[in-house]
């Protein structure tokens, strides 16, 4: 998981798969229930192509930043998975709209004889790519066990997702080459989601042994073989002829051109140097005008905006006047998030109502529990004895002009209840330094949402959270409870309950998320940009050219 405003615009570089119904899963589960079209502002989804897939061709994608590493387990930079999701497979995978989890290397969903046991059946005949040092050997359950064990490495210098499994997996068994049984230490609801995460792909032990780490080496079972990484320029991948999904991939060559400048990136799509791109608002109309025939869709970003009040811990309770919940409620009620969205982003986004974004439609809070109501806000300030108002410093990472504008609008809105925001824009690293010391009065923050609700709750509102601190034992208990509730429907209810509890304890205003504008050339079939910016799989793409 990657934090921070620095990547607020990083959605411009992500890649993924739209399912073409061609996977060989033996079943699926609905971690979040049904639903196929995320995002309330999304326009009609473009066709990803009917008809018979054609083989051959070269698919060029734009990548908005350079991957830092090709080691899926030890680095969290979003661009990394664009590559590793195509060179490697996971045991499970999400559907592109995040509504379902299905088998990837597994033949289907695991058998669950009890709440602590998951038995995965590995597809037989899956082979690693025929490149050194894997040399096309068969993928077995031992490889799965090795990968998961490696992912649990707890090294301070690694940006790992060890927490997915560390202390949650009791033991793993491999009774035969095609069976992996995982025993968890306690009922652990996020387990299925985490097994489907782009960060949980299976790697090749020989590659680790040979290269020491996988920073520059991607060897897996995936549909594409990495041929070249020219840093800050491009990636070149070619079709894996021995890919275990019959007929896939359809294209012969896959390229990622790295371009960080928004105007340059848009030009590369306009002049057809790339076939797929995500553009920001500043170049949206230009691209639409120049490429009216392209498939286009708006997908709300997983990076979103919140306005925080002072963090609290057992040793650091709310300072005055925030210790009075009416003051916090007044502040939240005085913020007109729709106006902020309108003024700063020309309404190009979606308001949020709680810690889980609307794109996760089965987990999100659907109604506004803390609506804008200026009169109520003023009354609450009066009831709390704060009619004269007060002032406080607001910090944020000034990494984009829009973030500065948000702060200016918030300042004007809160002035109406006589709360004077003293604006303090900060350089990113300095902002991190202060925000993760949990010493501030107000903060405008751009966090990241992830597919499993636990990631959005535990790391922000759980008892061991580090991204934010809000001390409330009742909330801690509910956050823990949802993570331990394996039954999806029961978990959904708890997730709703805990979100309502959080929202109505008024630690912050959950404001909105903005849209990513995703385009593909009309010849691109069988694939469109997914909802999850980390999902880089393009195995299903084919070119009708």
């Amino acid at each position: 998981m990657l934090q921070g405003a620095a990547l607020a615009g990083a959605g411009t570089a992500t890649l993924a798969l739209v399912g073409c119904g061609d996977d060989n899963s033996g079943g699926s589960t609905t971690p979040g229930g049904g639903g196929s079209t995320p995002g309330s502002t999304a326009s009609a989804a473009p066709s990803t192509g009917g008809g018979t897939p054609k083989s051959g061709g070269h698919f060029n994608m734009l990548m908005g930043g350079s991957p830092r590493s090709l080691d899926p387990h030890f680095d969290t930079f979003p661009y990394n998975t664009a590559i590793t999701d195509n060179t490697n497979n996971a045991i499970l995978k999400f559907s592109p709209d995040l509504s379902k989890v299905t088998g990837d290397l597994a033949t289907g969903m695991p058998e669950q004889p009890d709440d602590l046991t998951y038995t995965f059946k590995i597809t037989q005949g899956v082979k690693f790519q025929d490149v050194d040092p894997a040399n096309g050997r068969e993928f077995t359950s031992e490889d799965a066990k090795y990968s998961i064990t490696r992912q649990m490495t707890n090294d301070a210098g690694k940006f790992q997702h060890a927490y997915y499994f560390l202390n949650h997996i009791d033991k793993m068994e491999t009774p035969d080459p095609y069976t992996l049984t995982v025993h968890t230490t306690a009922p652990y609801a996020p387990f299925i989601s985490y097994m489907a995460s782009p960060w949980s792909v299976m790697i090749c032990k020989e590659a680790v042994d040979k290269f020491g780490d996988l920073t520059e080496h991607a060897v897996g079972t995936g549909p594409f073989i990495l041929k070249e990484w020219q840093k800050d320029v491009k990636f070149e991948l070619v079709k894996n002829p021995n890919y275990f999904k019959k007929g896939m991939p359809y294209i012969d060559q896959l390229s990622y051109l790295i371009s960080t400048d928004p105007a340059t990136s848009a030009t590369l799509f306009i002049n057809k140097s790339v076939d797929a791109i995500i553009v920001g608002q500043s170049n949206l109309q230009r691209v639409k005008d120049a490429r009216p025939e392209a498939n286009a869709r708006d997908i709300p970003s997983q990076f979103w905006k919140e306005f925080r009040m002072p963090p609290t811990t057992a040793a650091q309770p709310y300072p005055k006047p925030f210790d009075d919940v009416r003051v916090r409620q007044a502040i939240v009620s005085a913020i007109d998030k729709q106006q902020v969205l309108d003024l700063v982003y020309s309404s190009d986004g979606v308001p949020t109502h709680g810690p889980i974004l609307p794109i996760y439609k089965d987990w999100t809070v659907k109604e506004e529990l803390a609506p804008f109501d200026l009169k109520k806000a003023q009354d609450l300030m009066g009831q709390a004895g704060q009619s004269a108002g007060f002032s406080g410093e607001m910090i944020w990472a000034s990494t984009a002009p829009e973030l500065d504008q948000i702060s200016e609008v918030l300042k004007q809105q809160l002035a109406k209840i006589k709360v004077d925001l003293q604006l303090k824009p900060m350089e990113l690293a300095a902002y991190y330094n202060q925000t993760y010391s949990y010493k501030y009065t107000f903060s405008q923050h751009t966090p990241l949402n992830s597919p499993d609700p636990d990631e959005n709750l535990s790391s922000y509102f759980g008892k061991n959270s580090t991204y934010y601190k809000h001390y409330n034992q009742e909330i801690f208990d509910l956050v823990d409870k949802q993570a331990q509730t394996v039954d999806t429907e029961a978990r959904k209810q708890i997730v709703q309950d805990v979100q309502k509890k959080i929202v109505q304890d008024y630690p912050m205003s959950f404001m909105f998320t903005t849209n990513n504008h995703n385009f593909t050339d009309a010849k691109v079939k069988g694939w469109f940009w997914p909802t999850d910016l980390y999902d880089g799989r393009v195995e299903s793409v084919w070119l009708d050219a």
């Binding site: 840093k231 030009t267 230009r286």
Partner: protein, 316 residues
């Protein structure tokens, strides 16, 4: 001459050490440190994790010891490893420096190709339409930032004519023409920007030299204009211009930082920006060290050139 160069090289050593020291200290004095930033990507990181990472990176040692360690390794060609990418800084710089150097070189060459003739003509045709046009061009080149013109170049020709400059990096191996075509546009933009200063200095110095007695004598002797300008005037006017060109190497390096992003060039500039934002101490220090060496070297070359251009200059 040899003794002079040797002395300058020896004098350059404390300069470079001072630059390393300053970059080392400044990076650690600015708010927000490397460990905080790295841990911001890691949920559930504890203080113990932070302390462990600080220890692994050697950041828990006293600053003087860290500096001496760094200097000792740098002297052996080891500039450290990026804590973010786990890649040796030396290797990253070796791969990226040629791209930046090439862009900077082409930019300076194109800038001189524009600035010198225009500056000379402007001086020779003082207060004519050519002079006014040249001076207006110089002011424009100085005042319009190249990142602005670069964006215009990328957006509008595409919109109007369906043409855009090459935006995908072409190494030498992709063909000489493609390679040079790729570098031409960013080099031209940066070169024009650099040309403004050189052009104005050339004009000023030429005006001064053209008023000297020996030039009047040359005219009186009946020498041809080309001979007077190239052999007598320009050579003497060129010394301050050379100084400006030397100083512009630093400006050119600064310019590449933005242009590399706009034109998708895998140079040192993009690497440097990213390293600063991430508080990647070894990478920042490595880039600063390399740039300091280049600038010191260029200034040494400039000083030596003084003597070549003007025999009256002595290296005592």
């Amino acid at each position: 001459m040899t003794e002079y160069i040797l002395r300058r090289v020896l004098l350059a050593i404390p300069t470079i050490v001072l630059v390393i020291f300053l970059s080392f200290i400044v990076m650690r004095l600015v708010p927000g440190d490397l460990v905080d930033q790295m841990m911001a990507e890691r949920p559930y990181a504890t203080q113990a994790d932070k302390d462990k990472l600080r220890n692994e990176l050697g950041l828990d040692k006293p600053l003087p010891i860290q500096f001496v360690d760094y200097l000792g390794n740098a002297l052996q060609g080891d500039l450290g490893v990026s804590p973010w990418t786990h890649q040796p800084v030396t290797r990253e710089l070796r791969n990226r420096l040629p791209v930046t150097a090439e862009l900077g070189l082409y930019a300076i060459l194109l800038g001189l190709l524009i600035a010198l003739p225009v500056g000379v003509i402007s001086a020779m045709r003082q207060d004519t339409i050519e002079d006014y046009t040249s001076r207006s061009f110089a002011i424009l080149a100085l005042s319009v930032p190249y990142f602005f013109t670069a964006t215009l170049l990328i957006v509008f020709p595409e919109k109007w004519f369906g043409w855009s400059p090459p935006l995908i990096y072409k190494p030498w191996t992709a063909g000489l023409f493609d390679h040079l075509e790729y570098f031409f546009w960013p080099a031209l933009l940066l070169g024009v920007s650099l040309a403004g200063t050189v052009m104005r200095m050339t004009r000023t110095m030429m005006l001064e030299v053209l008023r000297q007695d020996y030039i009047r004598t040359a005219w009186a002797k009946g020498l041809r204009e080309r001979m007077i300008i190239t052999r007598h005037a320009l050579k003497n006017a060129f010394i301050p211009v050379i100084t400006i060109i030397g100083l512009q190497v630093g400006t050119a390096v600064g310019g590449t930082i933005i242009l590399e992003s706009i034109f998708n060039m895998p140079g040192i500039g993009r690497y440097f920006v990213s390293a600063i934002l991430q508080r990647d101490y070894p990478s920042v220090q490595g880039v600063v060290l390399v740039l300091a060496v280049i600038i010191v070297f260029v200034n040494l070359v400039v000083d030596v050139l003084y003597g070549v251009l003007d025999p009256r200059v002595r290296y005592g």
